[in-house]
């Protein structure tokens, strides 16, 4: 039996990413599971239900004998405006969710963390808790929550971190992974630095692991991809889906998802792939499985320093042109280049605390070893973790690709992103700009601003000190045996 995970997608951004994730996940399972059998791999993120009933009951796994009746995503959708969620419910994925999984309001948070966290949190807290509880009760071994939201807006950052606290409180033993989309420097939301910093305090305190993603990095990657793909092929989906068979139950859902690309789709697709690759090894077979709880165990040396820099490669495959697959070693090199990181940072020139390579597809351990040996001399690792590599191998590659690589690393370069965020925060905070919009919300105090800033400062200092000392200062000589 495998474990299950629940995705909680909050706000516009979170729901869009979530939507892409479910779409891709269905495709991925469809390409592997051609018979349309409800198997353990599916069970980790989907329920199989008899949808004739109003409150659909689970059809349990019957040792791979049962056919798929109707798949429901193990998801909770939260948004304080209706737009995105109601679009999802009109769209091709509508059957994957039922209305009991949705929580929406109409008025939005006005890009105000306090409104999302304090006001809506108080108002919808019980309902959110109840909805999540229902989803949790459908799992027989719940291992992980994935929380998807943006940091800049009001709903994602405010309600998102409210949900995080609630989960920490009610499910202390279930891992909490947060995928947080950070605003770029030139964000059009004036208050985004406030929202981000206020949210970050919660992430630092209550998440087990945060995967920060920067909008600017996504934009750059998308541009890079569209340049690389020959003209006339732009607008194609980033990931080839050409070899999906269309006769399975799963793809029957998938067939209806063809639609026009929206501006954020390509960007969200990248984040959705991140989630897909991260969970692949927990969903499929592999000669070296990486369970989700191994990620925090290996990559988080100190409890607060749980922000992981991620990168993926290859970023695209050509859909129609039959070029030879990219050289395997190139994939590893790419993943360590600046251009492939999902935040604007350069881990190669900073200090690694730990690094993981999650490989999918037809790759052997010796390929990974060769590449570690090749890359290692050019990377700087902290003294007490010079061999800080974690590797995972999943046999099933992403749809349409021979292999893929996801790197997740705990690297001090993250402090640069945090410092720039802090600077933007301080610029507003010095002038006390817009503060009254926040403090006028019940339960919000000035102290929230100062303590959030303090929390961020100490996080930056922690990374900074490790970067400076390289971990040498704390070394003590070994125990001596009295002879």
């Amino acid at each position: 039996m495998m474990t299950q995970s629940i995705v909680v997608q909050v706000g516009q951004c979170g729901n869009q990413i979530g939507c892409q994730f479910w779409d891709l996940a269905l495709k991925e399972h469809a390409s592997v599971n051609k018979q349309g059998i409800y198997d353990e791999a599916l069970c980790s993120f989907f329920r199989n239900v008899d949808s004739r009933y109003d409150d659909p009951v689970n059809i349990s796994l019957s040792n791979g004998k049962g056919r798929i009746r109707a798949l429901k995503a193990r998801a909770v959708l939260v948004d304080m405006e209706e737009g995105v969620v109601s679009e999802i419910m009109k769209g091709p994925l509508r059957d994957v969710f039922d209305c009991k999984q949705l929580i929406t309001d109409v008025s939005g948070c006005g890009n105000n963390w306090a409104v999302g966290n304090k006001m809506y949190g108080g108002q919808y807290g019980e309902m959110i808790s109840e909805t999540i509880r229902r989803a949790a009760e459908h799992c027989d071994c719940l291992q992980c929550f994935f929380i998807l939201h943006s940091m800049g807006g009001g709903t994602g950052s405010g309600v998102g971190t409210f949900v995080l606290n609630l989960l920490a409180d009610e499910y202390p033993d279930v891992y909490r992974f947060v995928t947080a989309v950070y605003p770029s420097g030139e964000d059009d939301v004036v208050t985004s630095p406030y929202n981000s910093v206020l949210a970050m305090r919660e992430l630092t305190e209550h998440a087990d692991c945060v995967l920060p993603v920067e909008n600017q990095a996504l934009v750059d990657i998308v541009n890079k991809i569209s340049q690389a793909i020959p003209s006339g092929k732009t607008g194609k989906r980033v990931y080839s889906t050409s070899n999906i068979k269309t006769d399975s139950t799963l793809t029957a859902i998938d067939n209806t998802t063809c639609r026009d690309e929206k501006p954020f789709d390509a960007m969200n697709n990248i984040v959705a792939n991140l989630l897909l690759n991260m969970t692949s090894s927990a969903r499929f077979e592999g000669s070296l499985n990486v369970d989700l709880n191994e990620i925090t165990m290996n990559l988080v040396p100190y409890p607060r320093l749980h922000y992981l820099v991620t990168s993926q490669s290859p970023l695209y495959v050509f859909k129609d042109v039959h070029l030879p697959p990219r050289r395997l070693d190139q994939m590893f090199t790419d993943a360590f280049s600046k251009d492939h990181q999902l935040i604007k940072a350069d881990p190669k020139h900073s200090l690694y605390l730990a690094c993981s390579l999650m490989v999918r597809g037809n790759v052997e351990m010796s390929d990974i070893r060769r590449n570690i040996d090749r890359l290692k001399p050019n990377l700087k690792f902290i003294r007490w973790n010079e061999d800080g590599w974690k590797t995972g191998l999943c046999n099933i590659p992403p749809v349409g690709q021979p292999y893929s690589l996801l790197t997740m690393s705990n690297n001090t370069c993250i402090r640069d992103s945090f410092t720039s965020l802090k600077d933007r925060f301080v610029k507003l905070y010095k002038r006390k700009a817009h503060i009254h919009h926040y403090t006028s919300v019940d339960g919000m105090e000035m102290g929230d601003f100062s303590s959030s800033l303090e929390s961020l400062n100490s996080l930056i200092t922690d990374y900074d000190q490790l970067d400076k000392s390289q971990g040498v200062e704390t070394l003590v000589s070994r125990l001596q045996v009295a002879s």
């Binding site: 474990t3 990559l299 003294r383 590599w389 704390t474 070394l475």
Partner: protein
């Protein structure tokens, strides 16, 4: 005398599956070099040791209990076994849960261990009852992960409690120096220090060495875990399969009795010669003298394989202050299998200087032989030694773990499950003592 194999964690289960399959392939092999009658006797002895023969079944059943915290690997291993058409795993002797230990020794040892103990021991008891005479246990685990190492350590302690008179031989796989699990050095330190209290012997194999054997001797281009596990099992089987000393067939308990003469010294390593791909084997012939000479040099120079041994290392060249450059051991056992074993001369291993000063070659050395060929090799030799060579990787692991511990890195992940700083310190103290002892050898 029968032996029960306890397969712990992902690695333990994969190796266990491979071990039984290596043994099963070997007894059905036609390249046995002995009379049909003798081959049959040999086969029966092997089956008695490692398999049950249930009535009304076309399969023999491995004497094994399987434990893992997730089901994928166990299911796969059972399935592959059945495909052999010869052997399978016994029903209902598999214990798995839904949630792994996440590379966390403390999660395995402090949380899963106590929860699974009763169920697992029940299975072990049931397996033991199937044996006419139980000599002991072979427990397979890796040092790096959480389930094999953490739960494995706990189960080993339970085995020791319930079967105080049976031997427990651990086979541990030493992780690659880099790349598998970041907290592997912590897990290894915690596991080894505990196993040292409970096990009779710990057979150590290093992934880095196994990897080299695969690439340089077996000429495998893309090395998978299966290839590595095959080498592990070749080594294990070369020692564990029946062989005689001058009088009688030796069972594994007697093996350990000879190899571990002192409770402070429990680390064993196995060296094999020859090891080569089937393709090369066709064109090769060997003389016993050459094989044994090479094996001795592998021992002296502490080499894991016959290629690239340092022939400069000799027993004569002590440094002025009396310390020695060459490897030394407390006990050696040479096991020769195949054609003309009677003519295999072991006198090269009888030199005083190969052994610690407080023992004597007559006591420290034993030779076992078996004229039935093993694993397609016309002639092959294995040397299992209680020697210094595991201290090199052990020292490396203790060093890395100590650096991490002194920086307090990752400690919170362990204390969260109830492990304390003192537990860590105790483990470090135990292993520093082990290192110290072997250094004096």
């Amino acid at each position: 005398m029968s032996m029960i194999t306890v397969q712990l964690g992902q690695c333990g289960n994969q190796i266990g599956g491979q071990l039984f399959s290596t043994i099963a392939d070997d007894i059905t092999s036609t390249k046995h070099m002995v009379t049909a009658n003798k081959n049959r006797e040999y086969g029966e002895e092997v089956v008695r040791r490692y398999f049950n023969t249930p009535e009304k079944s076309e399969f023999v059943e491995a004497r094994a209990v399987m434990v893992d915290m997730e089901s994928k690997v166990i299911a796969q291993t059972c399935q592959e076994a059945k495909k052999s058409g010869i052997w399978k795993y016994p029903d209902k002797q598999q214990y798995c849960q839904k949630r792994g230990s996440g590379n966390n020794w403390a999660h395995g040892y402090c949380v899963h261990g106590p929860n699974v103990k009763d169920k697992v021991m029940e299975m072990v008891q049931r397996e033991a009852e199937k044996c006419d005479r139980l000599s002991g246990f072979l427990s397979l685990l890796s040092l790096a992960g959480g389930t094999g190492s953490g739960v494995g350590t706990f189960i080993n302690e339970a085995l020791r409690d319930e079967f105080p008179h049976s031997f427990i031989m651990n086979q541990v796989v030493w992780p690659y120096n880099t790349g598998e699990v970041i907290v592997q050095n912590y897990n290894a330190v915690l596991t080894l220090s505990h196993l040292y209290q409970t096990a009779d012997a710990v057979v150590v194999m290093e992934n880095d060495h196994l990897h080299k054997i695969c690439s340089q001797l077996l000429d495998i281009k893309k090395i998978s875990f299966k290839d590595i596990n095959k080498v592990v099992c070749h080594k294990l089987a070369s020692v564990l399969l029946p062989a005689c000393d001058s009088q009688e067939i030796i069972h594994s308990g007697m093996l350990l009795h000879h190899l571990v003469p002192h409770p402070e010294y429990k680390l064993l390593s196995i060296r094999n010669i020859p090891q080569m791909s089937a393709h090369v084997m066709e064109f090769s012939t060997f003389q016993w003298y050459g094989l044994i000479k090479h094996l001795r040099q592998m021992f002296l120079a502490d080499a894991a394989m016959e290629e690239g041994i340092d022939w400069q290392v000799k027993t004569g060249n002590d440094t002025p202050r009396g310390s020695v450059r060459h490897n030394r051991s407390l006990a050696n056992m040479l096991i020769v299998r195949g054609k003309d074993v009677e003519s295999a001369d072991h006198s090269l291993f009888l030199e005083d200087k190969l052994y610690s000063s407080w023992t004597h070659p007559d006591l420290a050395f034993t030779k076992l032989s078996q004229s039935r060929a093993f694993n397609q090799y016309e002639k092959c030799a294995a040397l299992i030694s209680n020697n210094r060579s595991p201290t090199l990787p052990l020292n490396y692991i203790v060093d890395k773990a100590w650096n991490m511990f002194s920086s307090r890195a990752y400690v919170h992940q362990y204390t969260k499950h109830g492990l304390t700083d003192e537990d860590f310190m105790d483990s470090f103290v135990t292993l520093e003592q082990v290192l110290h002892n072997y250094k004096k050898l």
